[in-house]
């Protein structure tokens, strides 16, 4: 005990050892193994250790790869834009227009509760709404806006992005709200006293001070969308593909080496994107 007290580094290391062990076994080793297997060969029934670049050559030689990566970025970008606008507006409303802390907490909880329920159920729950005979179509038809059901509501890119926005807007609301609550209200009063109108305060005071929250939200949304494979499969009715689906299809065919190669390229893409975003924010300081 005395020794521990004199050497805080050792006691810190002891305390993080369970964490380090979990991350080593279930994060680092699996990644290392995926890298190794990405150089292996596959037959129909088994995978064979080797060291060749066939999987990567095939990946980069196939036009499908580029379409699928383009799709992945397209989903990420559109979802990011939608969640940012919605998430910022909601957080702004909660932080600056709700006047008592109790109400702020209550409404904030109302926004976060769906996050703690099942994503799959939340995807399924769009079926009665978007389906061919769903609520959206029948409402629009009864209003006379359309004559026959719109086919592209469910099982389309539209549905995929709608589901992404539905699932992940919370990841924007929470960090942006968190940063906004830490903005010193006297700054806003000062801006108002200096003659700024509402829009000017928003643009010149609140948005710059909220940037760290926006960045954290962006990291969440972009990585969740880029790594997804279920939402795209389910909401597009298997008609669209992103990189995640490419990997899961290979896995289903037991083509682990080729799945691994794709996975490594996806991981690098995500990490580079995050690396760029992290240059704009120090996460640990902003929590």
């Amino acid at each position: 005990m005395n020794k521990l007290r004199t050497n805080p580094a050792i006691s810190s290391l002891l305390m993080v050892s369970p964490l380090a062990a979990v991350l080593l076994i279930f994060l680092v080793l699996p990644i290392v193994l995926i890298v190794i297997v990405s150089f292996w060969q596959a037959s129909e029934f088994s995978i064979i250790p080797a060291f060749e670049f066939d999987n990567y050559a095939f990946l980069f030689g196939s036009p499908v790869t580029y379409t699928v990566f383009f799709n992945t970025f397209k989903y990420a970008l559109i979802t990011w834009a939608c969640t940012l606008v919605i998430g910022f507006t909601v957080a702004y409303y909660l932080a600056f227009h709700i006047r008592t802390l109790t109400w702020q907490i209550a409404l904030f909880l109302l926004c976060t509760i769906p996050f703690w329920t099942s994503n799959i159920i939340r995807m399924i729950s769009w079926i009665p709404f978007l389906g061919r005979n769903g609520i959206a179509n029948s409402t629009l038809m009864s209003w006379g806006v359309i004559d026959e059901p719109i086919e592209w509501l469910l099982f389309s890119d539209f549905a995929v992005i709608l589901a992404f926005v539905h699932l992940y807007t919370l990841f924007m609301v929470v960090p942006i709200f968190n940063t906004m609550m830490r903005i010193d209200k006297s700054l806003i009063e000062a801006a108002r006293d200096a003659g700024a109108n509402g829009a000017q305060i928003l643009w010149n005071v609140i948005i710059p001070l909220t940037k760290p929250g926006i960045m954290i939200g962006t990291i969440f949304v972009v990585t969740l969308v880029m790594g997804d494979f279920i939402t795209v499969r389910f909401m597009s009715g298997s008609q669209s593909a992103n990189v995640g689906r490419l990997i899961s299809n290979d896995i289903a065919l037991l083509q682990y080496p080729s799945a691994s190669a794709t996975a490594i390229v996806l991981l690098l893409t995500v990490l580079i994107t995050i690396g760029i975003l992290l240059r704009f924010v120090d996460i640990r300081k902003e929590l």
């Binding site: 521990l4 805080p8 580094a9 006691s11 810190s12 290391l13 305390m15 993080v16 369970p18 964490l19 979990v22 991350l23 279930f26 994060l27 680092v28 080793l29 699996p30 990644i31 193994l33 995926i34 297997v37 507006t89 409303y93 909660l94 227009h97 006047r99 926004c111 509760i113 769906p114 703690w116 329920t117 099942s118 799959i120 159920i121 399924i124 729950s125 769009w126 079926i127 009665p128 709404f129 005979n133 609520i135 029948s138 807007t169 509402g198 990291i219 880029m226 790594g227 279920i230 389910f234 995640g244 899961s248 896995i251 691994s260 996806l266 991981l267 995500v270 990490l271 640990r284 929590l287």
Partner: protein, 279 residues
């Protein structure tokens, strides 16, 4: 109080629509799960009945729903306990710099942002290559921790960023050992946040899907079971199951929130003895 600006009402309407967007679909399947016997996946309702709920209890052709629920529940508790303990220890350790703290921090971030399918694939490969069988309580358990631990740690970092260290100094000055300081000062102060971490640990595990896909072995967890059903079940029984799990999640969330509320109330009553002494 100054009058509300016009933007308040516009934003209120926007917020209302957002809430409707969040909850509307879930409420819709909640209603549709009471669909009559001849009813389909969309409106109109053909009568109101509990038929699909009965169906859920009887029909086992679609798989082992109750077994998977039990597994998910046990797994959720396991993940919850480990997440709380490991996150608190990690949070305490990260208050100081230690050798490797930067690397470990970046590993935590990686664990959070890594596409889930890589964990699924990598852990699956790790177990198969080392000759072990994947099972929900070993490989599935570990895979889920890579998702819940980063959340737990981020919450702990946030908590300790706001933690007033003078409480600890006071305890130390009064002669408390490090363990006593932790047990009687630090832990009680951060207790409500720990309930938050526990809530994250349980619900994220209970709903986790992508990381358990290749790592749970032959016994499915509930989300995997539901996912399997989406491909071959096209009756409102799917909605009935969805409604039940959502209600279960809501009950869990409610229990956690009540615990936080009660803790805070008790703390407000007993926390300070200022003004009660004989001075």
């Amino acid at each position: 109080m100054e009058p509300r600006p016009r933007s308040f009402y516009v934003l209120s309407a926007f917020f209302g629509l957002f809430i409707l967007f969040l909850y509307g679909p879930t409420i819709t399947i909640g209603i549709l799960s009471f669909q009559g016997e001849g009813g389909g996946l969309t409106f109109p309702m053909r009568g109101v009945s509990l038929y699909w709920f009965y169906d859920l209890f009887e029909q086992q052709a679609v798989g082992d729903i109750w077994g998977s629920f039990r597994r998910s529940f046990v797994l959720g508790l396991m993940v919850m306990v480990v997440t709380v303990v490991v996150s608190v220890m990690g949070g305490l350790a990260f208050r100081r710099k230690f050798p490797g703290s930067n690397i470990l921090f970046y590993l935590i971030i990686t664990s959070l942002v890594i596409p889930s399918i890589l964990i699924s694939l990598g852990v699956g490969l790790l177990f198969s290559q080392s000759g072990l069988d994947v099972h929900w309580s070993t490989s599935g358990f570990g895979s889920q921790l890579t998702w819940t631990l980063p959340f737990g740690l981020l919450i702990m970092f946030a908590v300790f960023n706001r933690f007033d260290k003078s409480y600890e100094e006071a305890a130390r000055d009064l002669g408390a050992t490090p363990w006593q300081t932790l047990r009687h000062v630090v832990l009680p102060i951060i207790a409500p946040s720990l309930i938050g971490v526990a809530l994250f640990g349980f619900t994220l595990s209970y709903d986790e899907f992508a990381r358990t896909l290749l790592t749970s072995g032959s016994y499915n967890t509930l989300p995997l079971e539901i996912y399997g059903m989406t491909t071959n079940v096209t009756s409102p029984v799917l909605y009935a199951l969805g409604t039940l799990t959502t209600v279960f999640s809501l009950i869990i969330i409610g229990v956690f929130l009540c615990v936080v509320l009660i803790t805070n109330r008790r703390r407000a009553q007993q926390g300070s003895d200022a003004g009660k002494g004989d001075v």
